[in-house]
């Protein structure tokens, strides 16, 4: 199990009712980690255009993560 710090933004924060949480995860990839969070928070849904960042760097959903990492879940962006 790895312990990671997860942060939620905008619609994801509204859906989970929190801006961050520290969790223990058995997931291998960030996609699997998000899947675990969807299972834990009933109002959280996958979004096709969602992005993920690992320690302030945008990465692929299939990326692995390490114990102590900070994971940022971004819902679809809408700047401008």
């Amino acid at each position: 199990m790895k312990t990671v710090h997860v942060r939620y933004f905008a619609a994801f924060r509204d859906a989970t009712g929190r801006s961050e949480e520290t969790i223990a995860s058995a997931a291998e990839t960030l996609a699997e980690l998000f899947g675990e969070r969807v299972a834990a928070h009933t109002a959280l849904h996958p979004e096709a255009a969602a992005r993920v960042a690992l320690n302030d760097t945008l990465v692929d959903w299939e990326s692995a993560f390490s114990d102590g990492d900070e994971v940022l879940f971004f819902p679809p962006v809408a700047g401008g």
Binding site: F9, A10, H45, P76, A78, G79, G80
Partner: protein
């Protein structure tokens, strides 16, 4: 090149001053303003949430890419954060170059990339009293279900 996020109104004259350059015959500015409607809904105001650390680095990357692709002299991009009223400036892009083609193309590239790459989220507050995060299909469905 200068990219920034601000939680106070965008100072257009300051941007124009920063882009004064006697070697440039062309200055192109894009103003993104808060519109009073979207997809059939009357919009009252907006709220922008920004994840600043990544917005800053990604914004600087976009300006660097534009400078690499087109022969431009200077560029500025400023995006607002927080609550905005109708008509307010949400984003301003300014580019100066010797000739107009480069300035037009670079400015177009910067605004297009900014909209899809910056970690910025827009919440529309409607006259009906409802509010939705833009571009978030299933989150919107959820919000409807609970505001019913």
């Amino acid at each position: 090149m200068s990219f920034s996020i601000t939680d106070t109104p965008i100072d257009l004259p300051a941007i124009r001053a920063a882009l004064e350059h006697h070697g440039c015959g062309a200055a192109v500015f894009f103003e993104g303003r808060v519109r009073d409607h979207n997809e059939g809904e009357a919009v009252d105001r907006l709220e922008y949430e920004v994840y600043r650390p990544l917005a800053q680095s990604e914004g600087e990357k976009i300006l660097a890419e534009a400078a690499e692709r087109w022969s431009i002299e200077r560029s500025v991009c400023i995006h607002r954060e927080g609550r905005l009223e109708l008509g307010e400036l949400a984003i301003v892009v300014g580019v100066v170059s010797a000739h107009r083609d480069e300035a037009f193309q670079a400015a177009r590239y910067i605004i297009d990339e900014a909209k899809v790459r910056l970690p910025i989220w827009k919440k529309e507050h409607y006259r009906s009293g409802e509010a939705h995060w833009v571009n978030c299909q299933r989150c919107g469905a959820h919000a409807h279900a609970h505001s019913g």
